[in-house]
């Protein structure tokens, strides 16, 4: 896939969101992400990371009542509004934190096929995509298996296969490494490095963020507190500490020379 | 409660199946309108919860068996009558095809008794009672408690009717089985009422918005509900009368006995009513006494529970109000 570094994959313009009880979840959030960039969104619990991610494909506000003139989120320059949800969701592959929220079919094969079926593809094409996606995540023989028999890491990979089968241009991942053992975590890292599209990852796993992403956004109390190159930002112990984070081990072992 | 294959005749199974299929089809249509694209995840999940909840044992004193949730009224209160009926239907299907718990041919009868009468009917009683009791969230729990008990009894009577049409014969009386069923279901009904009320009480404290603030109004809805509720109540009351009727010989036969005539085989409409001419020996009068006692006791227990659980809800509403409504 050729990348045009100047094309904007994602743009947020002054996005503000309140919870039903009035508490502010996102406060005037604005940033741009170029096509092919990998950005980590880090911050303490309750900072609004998941809420932010759910705005990207129109899951919030719910039900989506954003009209064209009120659009605050733009995917490939298209406003995320009620009329464009179908198109937007084709372009964004969303991986949720708990694989059991996303794996809802009786067999692996059927679950990975869910997305392509909704795209209206033929049976043969759907099955081709299912096979390719399962191979891509390293689970080629798992089609007929019952998800209940798989480990957490395998279930996470099946979810990823289900997302990749839709051939999205952008991946949005919410805490992808939670509950994964080190081997599963390494496997996931490898698969994500092979994905050439844009990636936005909300995570507490700072080493993972440092390994995968070039850029980091620090979100705290609903505001973007810092936005810059991963190495530079995450080496700033003061900044990390202020926002409930810490310098990743990788950077402690081999600090960046300024 | 689950009817096995072989107990009901194929004709009765087919008739019950036809009614159930229509009811389920209707529920699917209404649900699609109500919940749209949320229908599948919400109903499927509710069904899975009811299924899991039915496995929880509620121990009884001194008895080797335990009480269990049935969930018809619970399902209806949480997601409405259409989703409730469908959730129970799904549970019955899965139990039949995964566990062989309940027959395949008699699935139609089971769905009719527990899904349609139990959930639709139970919801109709619940909604009607709520309107009578004030149509506020606090009235939900007593209404559900009473509805749960009545719906179980109504389902029991439905089974007696189905069984009567299947096995009714001039050669023997069905009163023994009827008595057993009614006694058994009166007990189950009390358990169901208590369990449903307790669960709803818990939910009411944690997430009151799951129990909708008021039951919807609308002429058609109201009339429909009252009709269905009335049927359920009638069935429930009839359950306690069914074994009684077996004791009273028909006036005509009594006269024939007195006059010494041979009682000829007379063709009477409806197999069920043939039994009522056979007078039972005196020593079995206790079965009807026991049945009426069960009815009386059950009524007292259920109303006491309804009042008690309703009072608890009232206190919690009060604390919610003074708390500013932060009930998380």
């Amino acid at each position: 896939m050729t990348m045009n570094p100047t094309s904007t994959a994602l743009e947020l313009r002054h996005l503000t969101f309140r919870y039903p009880n009035g508490r502010i979840a996102l406060d005037d959030v604005s940033f741009c992400i170029a096509a092919g960039e990998r950005v980590a969104v880090v911050g303490p619990s309750g900072a609004g990371k998941s809420t932010l991610l759910m705005h990207l494909n129109g899951l919030l506000p719910a039900p989506s009542v954003v009209f064209d003139e009120d659009a605050r989120v733009f995917v490939q320059s298209l406003g995320v509004t009620k009329s464009r949800l179908r198109e937007i969701r084709r372009q964004i592959g969303f991986l949720f934190q708990d694989p059991d929220d996303q794996l809802f079919c009786p067999t692996v094969r059927e679950d990975v096929a869910f997305g392509p079926l909704n795209l209206g593809l033929t049976q043969a094409e759907v099955l081709n995509r299912v096979d390719r996606s399962l191979i891509a995540v390293g689970l080629p023989e798992h089609g007929p298996r019952n998800p209940a028999q798989l480990s957490t890491g395998e279930r996470k990979r099946v979810c990823l296969a289900g997302v990749l089968a839709c051939e999205p241009k952008m991946l949005v991942l919410d805490e992808p490494t939670s509950n994964l053992d080190p081997r599963a975590r390494r496997h996931l890292l490898q698969i994500l490095k092979e994905f050439s599209g844009t990636q936005i990852i909300a995570t507490h796993d700072l080493d993972f963020a440092y390994d995968l992403c070039q850029r980091v956004l620090v979100l705290d109390a609903g505001k973007v507190q810092a936005d810059g190159p991963a190495g530079q930002l995450m080496s700033n112990a003061d900044l990390m500490d202020r926002h409930g984070l810490e310098v990743p081990w990788r950077l402690i072992q081999r600090p960046m020379t300024s | 409660m689950h009817i096995r294959d072989g107990i009901l005749s194929p004709e009765v199974c087919a008739a019950a199946g036809l009614i159930s299929v229509s009811a389920v089809g209707y529920s699917l249509r209404k649900l699609r309108v109500d919940l749209e694209d949320r229908a599948v995840p919400l109903t499927g999940m509710l069904a899975a919860v009811i299924f899991a909840g039915q496995m929880v044992n509620f121990p009884l004193i001194g008895l080797p068996v335990s009480g269990h949730l049935l969930g018809g009224v619970l399902a209806g209160v949480i997601l409405g009558p259409w989703a409730g009926c469908l959730a129970i239907t799904l549970v019955l299907i899965v139990q039949a095809v995964l566990f062989n718990d309940g027959g395949l041919l008699s699935l139609g009868a089971n769905v009719l008794n527990m899904g349609v009468i139990g959930s639709w009917g139970g919801y109709a009683v619940y909604a009607s009672l709520r309107k009578i009791l004030g149509n506020n969230p606090v009235s939900a729990i007593p209404a559900a408690v009473i509805a749960a008990w009545l719906s179980v009894l109504a389902a029991a009577m439905m089974f007696c009717l189905e069984f009567g049409f299947s096995a009714g014969s001039k050669d023997f009386s069905l009163s023994g089985i009827f008595t057993l069923m009614v006694l058994y279901h009166a007990l189950i009904g009390v358990g169901e009422a208590l369990i449903t009320g307790s669960i709803l009480g818990f939910i009411f404290v944690r997430r009151p918005e799951l129990i909708s603030l008021s039951v919807s109004s609308g002429r058609v809805a109201n009339v429909g509900r009252i009709v269905v509720a009335g049927m359920v109540v009638a069935l429930a009351i009839a359950a306690f009368v069914a074994p009684f009727k077996s004791d009273f010989p028909d006036g005509l036969d009594k006269v024939a006995e007195v006059q010494g005539f041979e009682s000829r085989e007379v063709e009477r409409p409806g197999l069920l009513f043939d039994d009522y001419e056979i007078p039972l020996p005196k020593r079995f009068q206790w079965s009807t006494a026991a049945t009426s006692l069960a009815g009386l006791l059950g009524t007292c227990v259920v109303f006491a529970a309804a009042i008690a659980l309703g009072k608890t809800a009232r206190w919690n509403v009060a604390s919610l109000v003074t708390d500013g409504g932060n009930a998380t």
């Binding site: - | 229908a39 039949a96 096995a167 369990i195 818990f202």
Partner: protein, 218 residues
């Protein structure tokens, strides 16, 4: 714990799924239709079903365990008829016929659940024109039974860790009711999240199923 689809390969497993469902229903209907006087015919059905169970690799231990749970209730139910009229031979004949009918049907059902895994059953239902929305709900429910089962076990363990055994019956009832209530709350929250996951992959309410593989064999 619901049985997960253990992949078995007996002769009966290889029969087409339409036949599995159809044969079972036929046996059950036959058992119900055979009149009381011809009860040896039910005996023949019993033998046929038993042979089928052997060919399905069903172990004797499994059979005995399942029958042990089923027969007592059936016996009690059946006995309640003649016990209220001891000298009525017609009542006894009816009861014995009931026991035979129900047992044969039960065994036939047991054979079916053994040889027809749930996903295959769903495919059969679709072929038999069952409403797609209902089949989708069944499919969903089946998956979440496993998850909720684990969740219920976790809730129970958490509760048991704080239970020192002194509670009254009423307290235990309330505790169990709270268990179910908590499970319900969590499940409904999960259903909302799952709905989001479905929307994210293009779900618009119209159910589509993956059929058989139309690609030429490689």
């Amino acid at each position: 714990m619901p049985p997960s689809s253990t992949i078995q390969n007996s002769f009966c497993h290889r029969i087409p799924s339409n036949w599995k469902l159809g044969l079972t229903l036929t046996v059950i209907v036959l058992a119900s239709l055979i009149p009381l006087e011809h009860w040896p015919a039910i005996g023949i059905l019993m033998v046929i079903v038993s042979i089928a169970l052997c060919f399905a690799n069903v172990t004797v231990g499994y059979l005995i365990r399942r029958l042990a749970l089923f027969l007592p209730m059936l016996l009690v139910f059946g006995l309640s008829l003649p016990l209220s009229q001891l000298d009525n031979s017609a009542a006894w004949a009816w009861t014995v016929a009931l026991w035979l009918r129900c047992t044969v049907s039960f065994l036939a059902g047991l054979w079916m659940i053994h040889v027809l895994p749930f996903p295959e059953l769903l495919a059969t239902l679709l072929r038999w024109r069952c409403p797609t929305l209902l089949v989708a709900m069944l499919s969903f429910m089946y998956r979440y039974i496993f998850i909720l089962w684990d969740e219920l076990a976790r809730l129970r363990h958490a509760r048991d860790a704080r239970d020192f055994g002194g509670g009254s019956l009423a307290m235990r009832w309330m505790g169990n009711a709270q268990l179910i209530g908590l499970l319900l709350l969590r499940a409904m929250e999960r259903a909302e999240r799952t709905h989001h996951a479905m929307l994210a992959r293009g779900w618009d309410g119209s159910v589509k199923f993956l059929g058989d593989d139309p690609r030429p064999a490689q």
